[in-house]
Protein backbone atom coordinates (compact mmCIF):
# COMPACT_ATOMS: atom_id res chain seq x y z
CA UNK A 1 0.00 0.00 0.00
CA UNK A 2 2.93 2.26 0.70
CA UNK A 3 4.05 1.29 -2.79
CA UNK A 4 0.90 2.90 -4.12
CA UNK A 5 1.50 6.08 -2.15
CA UNK A 6 5.08 6.30 -3.37
CA UNK A 7 4.08 5.60 -6.93
CA UNK A 8 1.46 8.31 -6.87
CA UNK A 9 3.86 10.82 -5.40
CA UNK A 10 6.45 9.91 -8.01
CA UNK A 11 3.91 10.25 -10.78
CA UNK A 12 2.81 13.61 -9.45
CA UNK A 13 6.37 14.86 -9.47
CA UNK A 14 7.13 13.46 -12.93
CA UNK A 15 3.99 14.37 -14.70
CA UNK A 16 3.99 18.09 -14.20
CA UNK A 17 1.54 18.06 -11.35
CA UNK A 18 3.99 18.13 -8.48
CA UNK A 19 4.19 20.01 -5.25
CA UNK A 20 4.88 23.40 -6.75
CA UNK A 21 1.89 23.56 -9.02
CA UNK A 22 -0.84 23.62 -6.40
CA UNK A 23 1.00 26.47 -4.75
CA UNK A 24 1.47 28.36 -7.97
CA UNK A 25 -2.22 28.02 -8.71
CA UNK A 26 -3.04 29.30 -5.23
CA UNK A 27 -0.74 32.27 -5.79
CA UNK A 28 -2.47 33.08 -9.06
CA UNK A 29 -5.92 32.96 -7.52
CA UNK A 30 -4.75 35.27 -4.77
CA UNK A 31 -3.30 37.62 -7.38
CA UNK A 32 -6.43 37.63 -9.49
CA UNK A 33 -8.84 38.44 -6.69
CA UNK A 34 -7.79 42.08 -6.34
CA UNK A 35 -8.12 42.50 -10.12
CA UNK A 36 -11.69 41.43 -9.75
CA UNK A 37 -12.72 43.21 -6.57
CA UNK A 38 -10.43 46.24 -6.64
CA UNK A 39 -7.22 46.97 -4.81
CA UNK A 40 -8.43 48.64 -1.62
CA UNK A 41 -6.75 47.12 1.42
CA UNK A 42 -9.85 47.39 3.59
CA UNK A 43 -12.09 45.27 1.41
CA UNK A 44 -9.32 42.78 0.78
CA UNK A 45 -8.63 42.32 4.48
CA UNK A 46 -12.30 41.60 5.11
CA UNK A 47 -12.50 38.89 2.52
CA UNK A 48 -8.95 37.54 2.91
CA UNK A 49 -9.70 34.45 4.97
CA UNK A 50 -12.57 33.50 2.70
CA UNK A 51 -10.48 33.94 -0.41
CA UNK A 52 -7.67 31.83 0.99
CA UNK A 53 -10.08 29.06 1.87
CA UNK A 54 -11.77 29.23 -1.52
CA UNK A 55 -8.37 29.18 -3.19
CA UNK A 56 -7.42 26.03 -1.29
CA UNK A 57 -10.68 24.45 -2.32
CA UNK A 58 -10.18 25.25 -5.98
CA UNK A 59 -6.55 24.15 -6.03
CA UNK A 60 -7.76 20.86 -4.60
CA UNK A 61 -10.52 20.58 -7.13
CA UNK A 62 -8.38 21.25 -10.17
CA UNK A 63 -5.94 18.52 -9.28
CA UNK A 64 -8.65 16.02 -8.50
CA UNK A 65 -10.36 14.97 -11.64
CA UNK A 66 -7.65 12.72 -12.96
CA UNK A 67 -7.00 11.01 -9.65
CA UNK A 68 -8.70 7.78 -10.74
CA UNK A 69 -9.46 8.59 -14.36
CA UNK A 70 -5.87 8.02 -15.43
CA UNK A 71 -5.73 4.65 -13.70
CA UNK A 72 -9.07 3.78 -15.23
CA UNK A 73 -8.09 4.65 -18.75
CA UNK A 74 -4.83 2.78 -18.82
CA UNK A 75 -6.31 -0.30 -17.15
CA UNK A 76 -4.47 0.05 -13.85
CA UNK A 77 -7.70 0.26 -11.90
CA UNK A 78 -8.86 -3.14 -13.18
CA UNK A 79 -5.58 -4.60 -12.10
CA UNK A 80 -5.61 -2.88 -8.71
CA UNK A 81 -9.05 -4.20 -7.93
CA UNK A 82 -7.87 -7.73 -8.62
CA UNK A 83 -4.64 -7.20 -6.65
CA UNK A 84 -4.18 -8.39 -3.06
CA UNK A 85 -4.65 -5.01 -1.40
CA UNK A 86 -8.01 -3.81 -0.13
CA UNK A 87 -9.50 -1.22 -2.43
CA UNK A 88 -10.47 0.91 0.56
CA UNK A 89 -6.80 1.12 1.51
CA UNK A 90 -5.82 1.96 -2.04
CA UNK A 91 -8.36 4.75 -2.10
CA UNK A 92 -7.07 6.17 1.18
CA UNK A 93 -3.55 6.11 -0.16
CA UNK A 94 -4.66 7.98 -3.24
CA UNK A 95 -6.24 10.61 -1.03
CA UNK A 96 -3.09 10.80 1.07
CA UNK A 97 -0.92 11.31 -2.00
CA UNK A 98 -3.27 14.02 -3.17
CA UNK A 99 -3.13 15.78 0.16
CA UNK A 100 0.65 15.63 0.31
CA UNK A 101 0.98 17.14 -3.14
CA UNK A 102 -1.67 19.83 -2.82
CA UNK A 103 -3.03 20.27 0.70
CA UNK A 104 0.20 20.23 2.65
CA UNK A 105 2.06 22.80 0.53
CA UNK A 106 -0.94 25.10 0.80
CA UNK A 107 -0.95 24.85 4.57
CA UNK A 108 2.70 25.77 4.69
CA UNK A 109 2.51 28.63 2.21
CA UNK A 110 -0.81 30.17 3.23
CA UNK A 111 0.71 32.79 5.57
CA UNK A 112 2.76 34.26 2.72
CA UNK A 113 -0.36 34.63 0.64
CA UNK A 114 -2.07 36.15 3.64
CA UNK A 115 0.35 39.07 3.40
CA UNK A 116 -0.74 39.81 -0.13
CA UNK A 117 -4.35 40.07 0.97
CA UNK A 118 -3.66 42.16 4.08
CA UNK A 119 -4.85 39.41 6.36
CA UNK A 120 -4.98 40.83 9.91
CA UNK A 121 -2.07 39.69 12.07
CA UNK A 122 -3.86 37.53 14.66
CA UNK A 123 -5.48 35.50 11.89
CA UNK A 124 -2.30 33.86 10.63
CA UNK A 125 -2.09 31.17 13.27
CA UNK A 126 -5.75 30.27 12.84
CA UNK A 127 -5.43 30.22 9.09
CA UNK A 128 -2.71 27.59 9.29
CA UNK A 129 -4.53 25.58 11.93
CA UNK A 130 -7.81 25.61 10.03
CA UNK A 131 -6.18 24.58 6.76
CA UNK A 132 -4.20 21.85 8.46
CA UNK A 133 -7.36 20.43 9.98
CA UNK A 134 -9.59 20.98 7.00
CA UNK A 135 -7.64 20.15 3.84
CA UNK A 136 -7.40 16.39 4.49
CA UNK A 137 -11.18 16.27 4.36
CA UNK A 138 -11.08 18.09 1.03
CA UNK A 139 -8.77 15.46 -0.43
CA UNK A 140 -10.82 12.53 0.86
CA UNK A 141 -14.11 13.98 -0.32
CA UNK A 142 -12.46 14.75 -3.60
CA UNK A 143 -11.48 11.14 -4.13
CA UNK A 144 -15.09 10.22 -3.48
CA UNK A 145 -16.21 12.55 -6.24
CA UNK A 146 -13.48 11.26 -8.51
CA UNK A 147 -14.58 7.70 -7.82
CA UNK A 148 -18.15 8.53 -8.79
CA UNK A 149 -17.13 10.11 -12.07
CA UNK A 150 -14.34 7.76 -13.01
CA UNK A 151 -16.07 6.25 -16.01
CA UNK A 152 -16.87 9.58 -17.61
CA UNK A 153 -14.80 11.45 -20.12
CA UNK A 154 -14.69 15.16 -19.27
CA UNK A 155 -15.77 14.49 -15.73
CA UNK A 156 -14.09 17.74 -14.60
CA UNK A 157 -17.05 20.03 -14.23
CA UNK A 158 -19.44 17.35 -13.08
CA UNK A 159 -16.93 16.37 -10.44
CA UNK A 160 -16.83 19.94 -9.14
CA UNK A 161 -20.56 19.96 -9.03
CA UNK A 162 -20.69 16.80 -6.95
CA UNK A 163 -17.85 17.69 -4.67
CA UNK A 164 -18.29 21.38 -3.96
CA UNK A 165 -21.53 20.95 -1.99
CA UNK A 166 -19.76 18.34 0.12
CA UNK A 167 -17.10 20.92 0.85
CA UNK A 168 -19.57 23.39 2.30
CA UNK A 169 -19.36 22.37 5.98
CA UNK A 170 -15.59 22.29 5.91
CA UNK A 171 -15.48 25.66 4.22
CA UNK A 172 -17.94 27.23 6.66
CA UNK A 173 -16.22 26.04 9.79
CA UNK A 174 -12.74 26.66 8.37
CA UNK A 175 -13.42 30.26 7.34
CA UNK A 176 -15.38 30.87 10.53
CA UNK A 177 -12.49 29.58 12.62
CA UNK A 178 -10.15 32.07 10.98
CA UNK A 179 -12.61 34.94 11.35
CA UNK A 180 -13.26 34.24 15.01
CA UNK A 181 -9.63 33.62 15.77
CA UNK A 182 -8.71 36.90 14.15
CA UNK A 183 -11.36 38.74 16.13
CA UNK A 184 -10.19 37.15 19.37
CA UNK A 185 -13.50 35.34 19.84
CA UNK A 186 -14.22 31.86 21.14
CA UNK A 187 -12.98 29.27 18.62
CA UNK A 188 -13.76 26.00 20.35
CA UNK A 189 -16.90 25.14 18.40
CA UNK A 190 -15.61 25.61 14.85
CA UNK A 191 -12.31 24.01 15.83
CA UNK A 192 -13.97 20.89 17.17
CA UNK A 193 -16.42 20.70 14.31
CA UNK A 194 -13.66 21.02 11.76
CA UNK A 195 -11.57 18.32 13.41
CA UNK A 196 -14.61 16.11 13.81
CA UNK A 197 -15.70 16.42 10.21
CA UNK A 198 -12.23 15.64 8.97
CA UNK A 199 -11.80 12.63 11.25
CA UNK A 200 -15.17 11.17 10.32
CA UNK A 201 -14.54 11.80 6.63
CA UNK A 202 -11.19 10.05 6.70
CA UNK A 203 -12.64 7.10 8.55
CA UNK A 204 -15.80 6.55 6.53
CA UNK A 205 -15.71 8.05 3.06
CA UNK A 206 -13.08 5.67 1.61
CA UNK A 207 -15.62 2.85 1.91
CA UNK A 208 -18.06 4.81 -0.21
CA UNK A 209 -15.33 5.62 -2.73
CA UNK A 210 -14.26 2.00 -3.03
CA UNK A 211 -17.87 0.95 -3.56
CA UNK A 212 -18.28 3.58 -6.26
CA UNK A 213 -15.20 2.35 -8.07
CA UNK A 214 -16.38 -1.24 -7.97
CA UNK A 215 -19.70 -0.22 -9.46
CA UNK A 216 -18.01 1.78 -12.18
CA UNK A 217 -15.76 -1.09 -13.16
CA UNK A 218 -18.63 -3.52 -13.36
CA UNK A 219 -19.85 -2.09 -16.65
CA UNK A 220 -16.49 -1.11 -18.10
CA UNK B 1 32.87 50.36 11.03
CA UNK B 2 29.17 49.43 10.86
CA UNK B 3 27.24 52.43 9.56
CA UNK B 4 24.51 53.86 11.76
CA UNK B 5 21.25 52.56 10.38
CA UNK B 6 18.99 53.91 13.05
CA UNK B 7 15.48 52.57 13.35
CA UNK B 8 15.64 51.09 9.87
CA UNK B 9 18.41 48.61 10.66
CA UNK B 10 16.12 45.63 10.22
CA UNK B 11 14.84 46.91 6.90
CA UNK B 12 18.25 47.53 5.37
CA UNK B 13 19.99 44.48 6.78
CA UNK B 14 16.99 42.33 5.97
CA UNK B 15 17.04 43.34 2.32
CA UNK B 16 20.76 42.74 2.00
CA UNK B 17 20.59 39.40 3.75
CA UNK B 18 17.62 38.28 1.66
CA UNK B 19 19.33 39.32 -1.56
CA UNK B 20 22.65 37.72 -0.76
CA UNK B 21 20.99 34.55 0.46
CA UNK B 22 18.89 34.20 -2.68
CA UNK B 23 21.79 34.90 -5.01
CA UNK B 24 24.11 32.59 -3.10
CA UNK B 25 21.48 29.87 -3.14
CA UNK B 26 21.05 30.20 -6.89
CA UNK B 27 24.80 30.08 -7.46
CA UNK B 28 25.22 27.09 -5.17
CA UNK B 29 22.41 25.25 -6.93
CA UNK B 30 23.86 26.03 -10.34
CA UNK B 31 27.34 24.89 -9.34
CA UNK B 32 26.00 21.72 -7.76
CA UNK B 33 23.91 20.81 -10.75
CA UNK B 34 26.76 21.72 -13.08
CA UNK B 35 29.17 19.42 -11.27
CA UNK B 36 26.64 16.62 -11.16
CA UNK B 37 25.88 16.79 -14.86
CA UNK B 38 29.55 17.09 -15.75
CA UNK B 39 30.31 13.94 -13.81
CA UNK B 40 27.39 12.05 -15.31
CA UNK B 41 28.41 13.06 -18.82
CA UNK B 42 32.03 12.00 -18.23
CA UNK B 43 30.86 8.63 -16.98
CA UNK B 44 28.57 8.16 -19.93
CA UNK B 45 31.23 9.09 -22.48
CA UNK B 46 33.69 6.79 -20.79
CA UNK B 47 31.24 3.91 -20.92
CA UNK B 48 30.40 4.48 -24.55
CA UNK B 49 34.07 4.63 -25.48
CA UNK B 50 34.65 1.28 -23.76
CA UNK B 51 31.67 -0.44 -25.35
CA UNK B 52 32.66 0.75 -28.79
Amino acid sequence: MIALLLRDLRLAVRAGGGFGLGLAFFLIVVTLVPFGVGPEGGVLARIASGVLWLGALLACLLSLDRIFALDYEDGTLDLLVTAPIPLEGAVSMKAAAHWITTGLPLVLAAPVFGVLLHLPAPAYLWLVVSLLLGTPALSVLGTFGAALTVGLKRGGLLLSLLVLPLYVPTLIFGAELVRRGAAGMEVRVPLLMLAGITAATIALVPFASAAAIRVNLRQA
Amino acid sequence: MMPELGKYAVTVLGSYVATVALLAGLVALSLWKGAKVKRALARQEERMRKNG
Binding site: G16, L27 | M1, P3, T11, V12, Y16, G34, V37, L41
Partner: protein, 242 residues
Amino acid sequence: MSIWEYANPVKFMKTSSLVLPWATGLAAACLIGGLIWGFFLTPDADNFGSTVKVIYVHVPAAMMAINIWVMMLVTSLIWLIRRHHVSALAAKAAAPIGMVMTLIALITGAIWGQPMWGTWWEWDPRLTSFLILFLFYLGYMALWEAIDNPDTAADLTGVLCLVGSVFALLSRYAVLFWNQGLHQGATLSMDSAQHISDVYWFPLLLCIAGFILFFVALVLLRTRTEIRLRRLKALEQRERMA
Protein backbone atom coordinates in the same frame (compact mmCIF):
# COMPACT_ATOMS: atom_id res chain seq x y z
CA MET C 1 33.05 34.25 -39.84
CA SER C 2 29.47 34.71 -38.81
CA ILE C 3 28.18 35.25 -35.34
CA TRP C 4 26.10 32.09 -35.67
CA GLU C 5 29.23 30.01 -35.29
CA TYR C 6 28.89 30.56 -31.57
CA ALA C 7 25.60 28.74 -31.76
CA ASN C 8 27.58 25.58 -32.32
CA PRO C 9 27.73 23.85 -28.94
CA VAL C 10 31.38 22.90 -29.26
CA LYS C 11 32.43 26.39 -30.18
CA PHE C 12 30.23 27.76 -27.43
CA MET C 13 31.76 25.48 -24.84
CA LYS C 14 35.25 26.55 -25.87
CA THR C 15 34.55 30.26 -25.93
CA SER C 16 32.51 30.26 -22.75
CA SER C 17 35.21 28.43 -20.84
CA LEU C 18 37.54 31.30 -21.74
CA VAL C 19 35.06 34.05 -20.92
CA LEU C 20 33.63 32.54 -17.75
CA PRO C 21 36.50 33.23 -15.32
CA TRP C 22 36.76 36.84 -16.45
CA ALA C 23 33.05 37.42 -16.20
CA THR C 24 32.99 35.83 -12.77
CA GLY C 25 35.90 37.91 -11.52
CA LEU C 26 34.53 41.15 -12.89
CA ALA C 27 31.06 40.41 -11.55
CA ALA C 28 32.42 39.71 -8.08
CA ALA C 29 34.52 42.86 -8.16
CA CYS C 30 31.67 45.15 -9.26
CA LEU C 31 29.11 43.53 -7.01
CA ILE C 32 31.22 43.55 -3.88
CA GLY C 33 32.63 47.00 -4.66
CA GLY C 34 29.25 48.48 -5.41
CA LEU C 35 27.50 46.98 -2.41
CA ILE C 36 30.26 47.98 0.00
CA TRP C 37 30.35 51.47 -1.42
CA GLY C 38 26.62 51.77 -1.19
CA PHE C 39 26.21 50.18 2.20
CA PHE C 40 29.11 51.76 4.06
CA LEU C 41 30.01 54.94 2.26
CA THR C 42 26.79 56.69 1.32
CA PRO C 43 24.83 59.07 3.54
CA ASP C 44 21.19 58.67 4.52
CA ALA C 45 18.60 60.51 2.43
CA ASP C 46 16.18 63.05 3.89
CA ASN C 47 13.01 61.33 2.85
CA PHE C 48 14.16 57.71 3.05
CA GLY C 49 16.53 57.75 6.01
CA SER C 50 18.96 54.87 5.97
CA THR C 51 16.53 52.76 3.94
CA VAL C 52 17.89 54.42 0.84
CA LYS C 53 20.61 51.77 0.96
CA VAL C 54 18.06 49.19 -0.14
CA ILE C 55 18.13 50.83 -3.54
CA TYR C 56 21.45 49.13 -4.34
CA VAL C 57 19.90 45.72 -4.37
CA HIS C 58 16.33 46.59 -5.20
CA VAL C 59 16.78 48.55 -8.39
CA PRO C 60 19.39 46.36 -10.11
CA ALA C 61 17.36 43.24 -9.32
CA ALA C 62 14.21 44.88 -10.68
CA MET C 63 15.97 45.91 -13.87
CA MET C 64 17.46 42.47 -14.38
CA ALA C 65 14.10 40.82 -13.83
CA ILE C 66 12.73 42.59 -16.87
CA ASN C 67 15.82 42.41 -19.01
CA ILE C 68 16.25 38.70 -18.51
CA TRP C 69 12.76 38.10 -19.80
CA VAL C 70 13.61 40.16 -22.88
CA MET C 71 16.76 38.12 -23.35
CA MET C 72 14.70 34.93 -23.12
CA LEU C 73 12.32 36.28 -25.72
CA VAL C 74 15.19 36.98 -28.11
CA THR C 75 16.87 33.61 -27.63
CA SER C 76 13.52 31.82 -27.97
CA LEU C 77 12.95 33.58 -31.25
CA ILE C 78 16.40 32.59 -32.46
CA TRP C 79 15.61 28.98 -31.62
CA LEU C 80 12.24 29.06 -33.31
CA ILE C 81 13.60 30.68 -36.45
CA ARG C 82 17.12 29.33 -36.82
CA ARG C 83 16.95 26.26 -34.58
CA HIS C 84 20.23 26.76 -32.77
CA HIS C 85 20.14 24.48 -29.76
CA VAL C 86 22.40 26.70 -27.67
CA SER C 87 19.91 29.50 -28.01
CA ALA C 88 17.03 27.49 -26.59
CA LEU C 89 19.20 26.12 -23.83
CA ALA C 90 20.35 29.63 -22.91
CA ALA C 91 16.73 30.66 -22.50
CA LYS C 92 16.16 27.66 -20.27
CA ALA C 93 19.27 28.50 -18.26
CA ALA C 94 18.27 32.14 -17.82
CA ALA C 95 14.73 31.59 -16.54
CA PRO C 96 15.59 30.60 -12.96
CA ILE C 97 17.94 33.58 -12.70
CA GLY C 98 15.19 35.87 -13.87
CA MET C 99 12.80 34.33 -11.41
CA VAL C 100 15.20 34.86 -8.53
CA MET C 101 15.77 38.47 -9.60
CA THR C 102 12.03 39.06 -9.62
CA LEU C 103 11.79 37.49 -6.21
CA ILE C 104 14.57 39.71 -4.90
CA ALA C 105 12.86 42.83 -6.24
CA LEU C 106 9.59 41.71 -4.64
CA ILE C 107 11.10 40.79 -1.29
CA THR C 108 13.31 43.84 -0.92
CA GLY C 109 10.40 45.96 -2.08
CA ALA C 110 8.12 44.39 0.51
CA ILE C 111 10.70 44.90 3.24
CA TRP C 112 11.16 48.47 2.11
CA GLY C 113 7.46 49.12 1.90
CA GLN C 114 6.93 48.27 5.55
CA PRO C 115 8.66 51.42 6.93
CA MET C 116 7.92 53.67 3.94
CA TRP C 117 4.27 52.97 3.19
CA GLY C 118 3.37 51.27 6.42
CA THR C 119 2.42 48.04 4.68
CA TRP C 120 4.24 44.99 3.44
CA TRP C 121 2.21 44.81 0.30
CA GLU C 122 0.13 47.22 -1.67
CA TRP C 123 -1.57 46.56 -5.00
CA ASP C 124 0.47 49.25 -6.67
CA PRO C 125 0.83 48.82 -10.44
CA ARG C 126 4.61 48.43 -10.35
CA LEU C 127 4.45 45.77 -7.66
CA THR C 128 1.50 44.06 -9.27
CA SER C 129 3.20 43.86 -12.64
CA PHE C 130 6.17 42.25 -10.97
CA LEU C 131 3.98 39.69 -9.35
CA ILE C 132 2.56 38.89 -12.78
CA LEU C 133 6.04 38.69 -14.25
CA PHE C 134 6.89 36.23 -11.48
CA LEU C 135 3.92 34.11 -12.53
CA PHE C 136 5.11 34.12 -16.13
CA TYR C 137 8.53 32.91 -15.02
CA LEU C 138 6.91 30.15 -12.97
CA GLY C 139 4.77 28.99 -15.87
CA TYR C 140 7.68 29.04 -18.27
CA MET C 141 9.88 26.99 -15.96
CA ALA C 142 7.07 24.57 -15.13
CA LEU C 143 6.52 23.90 -18.82
CA TRP C 144 10.21 23.13 -19.35
CA GLU C 145 10.09 20.74 -16.42
CA ALA C 146 6.94 18.99 -17.52
CA ILE C 147 8.00 17.95 -21.02
CA ASP C 148 10.71 15.41 -21.34
CA ASN C 149 11.59 15.51 -25.01
CA PRO C 150 14.08 18.42 -25.06
CA ASP C 151 13.33 19.69 -28.54
CA THR C 152 9.59 19.58 -27.98
CA ALA C 153 10.06 21.43 -24.72
CA ALA C 154 12.19 24.05 -26.45
CA ASP C 155 9.56 24.58 -29.14
CA LEU C 156 6.64 24.81 -26.76
CA THR C 157 8.35 27.06 -24.22
CA GLY C 158 9.46 29.24 -27.12
CA VAL C 159 5.88 29.67 -28.26
CA LEU C 160 4.79 30.32 -24.68
CA CYS C 161 7.50 32.96 -24.25
CA LEU C 162 6.32 34.70 -27.40
CA VAL C 163 2.66 34.76 -26.50
CA GLY C 164 3.49 35.42 -22.86
CA SER C 165 5.55 38.50 -23.70
CA VAL C 166 2.66 40.09 -25.51
CA PHE C 167 0.32 39.42 -22.62
CA ALA C 168 2.86 40.52 -20.02
CA LEU C 169 3.05 43.85 -21.80
CA LEU C 170 -0.72 44.07 -22.03
CA SER C 171 -1.01 43.26 -18.35
CA ARG C 172 1.32 46.12 -17.54
CA TYR C 173 -0.99 48.60 -19.28
CA ALA C 174 -4.04 46.98 -17.78
CA VAL C 175 -2.61 47.20 -14.29
CA LEU C 176 -1.65 50.85 -14.76
CA PHE C 177 -5.17 51.57 -15.86
CA TRP C 178 -6.60 49.67 -12.92
CA ASN C 179 -4.78 51.38 -10.07
CA GLN C 180 -2.63 54.48 -9.78
CA GLY C 181 0.07 53.65 -7.34
CA LEU C 182 2.40 54.68 -4.58
CA HIS C 183 5.63 53.57 -6.15
CA GLN C 184 8.58 55.79 -7.06
CA GLY C 185 8.61 57.09 -10.59
CA ALA C 186 11.56 56.36 -12.81
CA THR C 187 14.31 58.54 -11.40
CA LEU C 188 17.04 56.69 -13.19
CA SER C 189 16.46 58.68 -16.35
CA MET C 190 19.26 60.78 -17.72
CA ASP C 191 17.07 63.83 -17.44
CA SER C 192 19.02 65.86 -14.92
CA ALA C 193 15.96 67.63 -13.54
CA GLN C 194 14.85 64.52 -11.69
CA HIS C 195 18.23 62.85 -11.48
CA ILE C 196 19.05 61.41 -8.09
CA SER C 197 22.09 62.83 -6.44
CA ASP C 198 25.49 61.59 -7.63
CA VAL C 199 26.29 60.24 -4.18
CA TYR C 200 23.76 57.48 -4.77
CA TRP C 201 24.02 57.41 -8.52
CA PHE C 202 27.61 56.12 -8.90
CA PRO C 203 27.48 53.22 -6.46
CA LEU C 204 24.11 52.32 -7.94
CA LEU C 205 25.63 52.25 -11.42
CA LEU C 206 28.39 50.00 -10.13
CA CYS C 207 25.84 47.66 -8.57
CA ILE C 208 23.85 47.55 -11.78
CA ALA C 209 27.00 46.64 -13.69
CA GLY C 210 27.70 44.02 -11.05
CA PHE C 211 24.24 42.48 -11.43
CA ILE C 212 24.57 42.43 -15.20
CA LEU C 213 27.97 40.75 -15.06
CA PHE C 214 26.68 38.37 -12.42
CA PHE C 215 23.91 37.39 -14.77
CA VAL C 216 26.28 36.94 -17.70
CA ALA C 217 28.61 34.72 -15.70
CA LEU C 218 25.82 32.65 -14.22
CA VAL C 219 23.93 32.23 -17.44
CA LEU C 220 27.10 31.04 -19.16
CA LEU C 221 27.67 28.54 -16.39
CA ARG C 222 24.11 27.31 -16.49
CA THR C 223 24.01 27.13 -20.28
CA ARG C 224 27.12 24.97 -20.18
CA THR C 225 25.31 22.68 -17.78
CA GLU C 226 22.26 22.54 -20.00
CA ILE C 227 24.38 21.71 -23.04
CA ARG C 228 26.04 18.89 -21.18
CA LEU C 229 22.69 17.64 -19.98
CA ARG C 230 21.35 17.72 -23.52
CA ARG C 231 24.32 15.79 -24.81
CA LEU C 232 24.01 13.32 -21.96
CA LYS C 233 20.41 12.68 -22.94
CA ALA C 234 21.35 12.23 -26.58
CA LEU C 235 24.11 9.78 -25.69
CA GLU C 236 21.94 7.79 -23.32
CA GLN C 237 19.32 7.50 -25.96
CA ARG C 238 21.76 6.37 -28.59
CA GLU C 239 23.16 3.77 -26.25
CA ARG C 240 19.70 2.38 -25.71
CA MET C 241 19.01 2.20 -29.41
CA ALA C 242 22.21 0.28 -30.11
